[in-house]
């Protein structure tokens, strides 16, 4: 974790559409300086007098050093907050906090790394690929989505990845199916030493299961509804197994969003597992 997060009122530098997604590049020096791949930012939405109180979280796609430091993130319009963001124009002000969370840990020695992205979950993988390349790692990609317009970054993956495998549910691009379906073959082909994955929870569960089978480490970047993004509200928890073997409800925003895949109890997300520390009944059921 590279230093402490800051809040900055940045300026939108460019906006672009990328298939089904929007990308905003924001001048935000303090955040760009501290960035490491896997970090996320939170953005205030709605402008003055808005009824939307909570910041929206987005993985950082890219940072650049121009203008003292810019931050780019990629998003899908989902509700009113992202709809508002999609309306931003160059020179608008944007209130951001970051960089936040635990970034992807990098291998100490050169390794073969397989980067798996689902939907906009591909966005943070390119900065990760750059960092891995700098450590002389080999990088391969598996990117998937429901349809071709929702596969983010296929071109760039093809350019910088050793191999790139694409999947779509509707078969409109690459193989028909999910990234999980092709994963065993790709791991075998690339002889991956480690897998990094970012995308929807079911995908992360599937990727983790495959990696466990192949007995290779997997780092997953998890998404859970967040009210604060900085560790103070306790709304973003998932059940995670600690070094001591005990399951705790831990905050995705500060202990994560990146976890070792096999530590996340994917099947129990959205519940309090009965054996979690402090679970009702375990000690006292209130």
């Amino acid at each position: 974790m590279a230093g402490t997060p800051v809040q900055v009122t940045g300026t939108v530098l460019t906006t672009r559409r990328v298939d089904a997604y929007h990308a905003l590049t924001v001048v935000a020096p303090g955040i760009a300086d501290r960035f490491r791949p896997g970090h996320f930012v939170t953005v205030a939405v709605g402008g003055p007098q808005t009824s939307m109180l909570t910041r929206r979280a987005f993985a950082v796609h890219d940072v650049k050093s121009d203008y003292g430091g810019t931050v780019e993130f990629v998003f899908a319009v989902r509700g009113p907050g992202t709809a508002w963001l999609a309306d931003r124009k160059a020179r608008d002000a944007l209130d951001m906090v970051g960089p936040l969370g635990r970034p992807f840990p990098l291998p100490r020695d050169p390794a073969t790394c397989l980067l798996v992205g689902g939907e906009y979950g591909s966005a943070p993988l390119f900065a990760l690929a750059d960092a891995l390349h700098q450590r002389n790692c080999r990088v391969d990609f598996v990117l998937g989505a429901a349809s071709s317009d929702r596969v983010f970054g296929a071109l760039r993956a093809r350019r910088i990845g050793e191999t790139t495998t694409l999947t779509t549910q509707d078969g409109s691009l690459g193989m028909r199916g999910s990234v999980v379906d092709v994963l065993p073959a790709v791991i075998a082909d690339t002889r991956a030493d480690v897998v990094y994955a970012c995308g929807p929870m079911p995908m992360l569960r599937g990727v983790t299961a495959v990696c466990v089978e192949f007995d290779i480490p997997v780092q997953v970047s998890v998404e859970e509804a967040m009210a604060c993004g900085i560790g103070i509200c306790m709304t973003c928890v998932v059940p995670v197994i600690g070094d001591d073997g005990a399951t705790r409800m831990v905050r995705v925003c500060t202990e994560g969003p990146v976890f070792r895949g096999e530590r996340v109890r994917f099947d129990d997300v959205g519940t309090i597992p009965f054996d979690a520390l402090g679970a009702p009944g375990g000690d006292r059921g209130r």
Binding site: T4, P5, V6, Q7, A44, S51, M52, L53, T54, R55, V97, E224, A225, M226, A227, C228, G229, I230, G231, I232, C233, M234, T235, C236, V237, V238, R248, M249, T254, V269, G270, T271, I272, A276, L277, G278, A279, P280, G282, D283, R284, R286
Partner: protein
């Protein structure tokens, strides 16, 4: 700008509200928590608690619902790892406690009684009473008073005991009075009223827990009303006002209604620098209005008016 919580002096009247400031460590990346009027902890329970399943939050118009369910490591871990961190740095810590029975609250108070660094104890009365089929203490003056009395008896005499009230009761003044009669040195209001949101796509409650506590600016009118009513009925009782405070103007609204300290909750999620900012804004507003001391503004909106008649309106 000095403030007083009962006989305890605070360097300023802007507090962080219970459950909204983490352990203090997280916020300290943004703002110096030792300079807050005080930091209120999330409600500490005897045993560790895993809390409620997710989703635990849902945004609502100018508000949010939460159902965290008092997740926390329990009082022993709190005393071992969290309170010392705050105490060593000289932060003022209001320790919020939550329990399921009078006995549990009392046990918590005993455990806190000789802990160094407890500026005040705040009793979160919005916990279900297991001995009364889960009716929350804050909705039952008798049970609330019993909790307050036994916590008061267990705590050191020089540590103020604050009773925290909820707005979703028929008569907040009656509950307030019961708590003061039970020995509360001050009152905090408001805790979150119970609300609910339904995800119309999933056709299910948006929160896994179904209902949750509503916080944020949406509830500020309820907070101002509760502070107003209680200050009118019990003008000598120190009140910590909270509920939807986002700015110095909002804080001043609660002060004018009768609060001698103001806590900031949900706004911290949006703006981790909120406490020092709101303090600065409040100081400026008081200064512009010619006040040298906070105390001179407390409850000022109650002074008799010409045009106004201030009973509760039927509609």
């Amino acid at each position: 700008m000095r403030a007083y919580l009962a006989h305890v002096e605070l360097p300023n009247p802007i507090l962080a509200a219970a459950g909204c400031a983490g352990t203090g460590r997280e916020l300290s990346a943004f703002a110096d928590v030792t300079r807050f009027g005080a930091l209120t902890t999330r409600s500490i329970t005897m045993a560790p608690r895993a809390g409620r399943p997710t989703p635990r939050m849902a945004e609502t118009p100018s508000g949010m619902l939460n159902a965290v369910g008092l997740q926390g490591p329990g009082v022993e871990a709190f005393l071992a790892r969290e309170l010392p961190w705050l105490a060593e740095r000289g932060a003022r810590t209001v320790v919020s406690i939550g329990g399921g029975s009078v006995a549990e609250y009392t046990a918590l108070a005993r455990r806190l009684a000789d802990a160094p660094g407890v500026t005040a104890v705040e009793i979160n009365l919005s916990c279900p009473n297991v001995d009364d089929r889960g009716r929350v203490f804050a909705r039952d003056g008798g049970a609330a008073a019993e909790v307050v009395a036994s916590v008061r008896a267990a705590m050191r005499y020089d540590v103020p005991v604050v009773a925290k009230l909820a707005p979703d009761v028929a008569d907040v003044v009656a509950i307030a009075r019961a708590c003061v009669d039970g020995g509360a040195d001050a009152l905090a209001m408001i805790n979150t009223p119970i609300g609910m949101s339904i995800d119309v796509d999933a056709m299910r409650p948006a929160l896994a827990a179904g209902t949750g506590g509503l916080s944020g600016p949406a509830i500020r009118p309820l907070a101002v009303r509760c502070v107003w009513q209680v200050h009118a009925a019990l003008p000598g009782v120190p009140l910590i006002g909270m509920g939807g405070v986002t700015s110095g103007r909002d804080a001043l609204e609660l002060v004018l209604a009768g609060a001698c300290a103001v806590a900031v909750g949900t706004t911290l999620f949006h703006d981790p620098y909120a406490c020092p900012r709101i303090l600065r804004e409040l100081e400026e507003l008081l200064h512009e209005r010619g006040f040298d001391r906070l105390a001179d503004a407390v409850g000022l909106a109650h002074r008799p008016a010409h045009r106004n008649d201030l009973e509760e309106s039927p509609l």
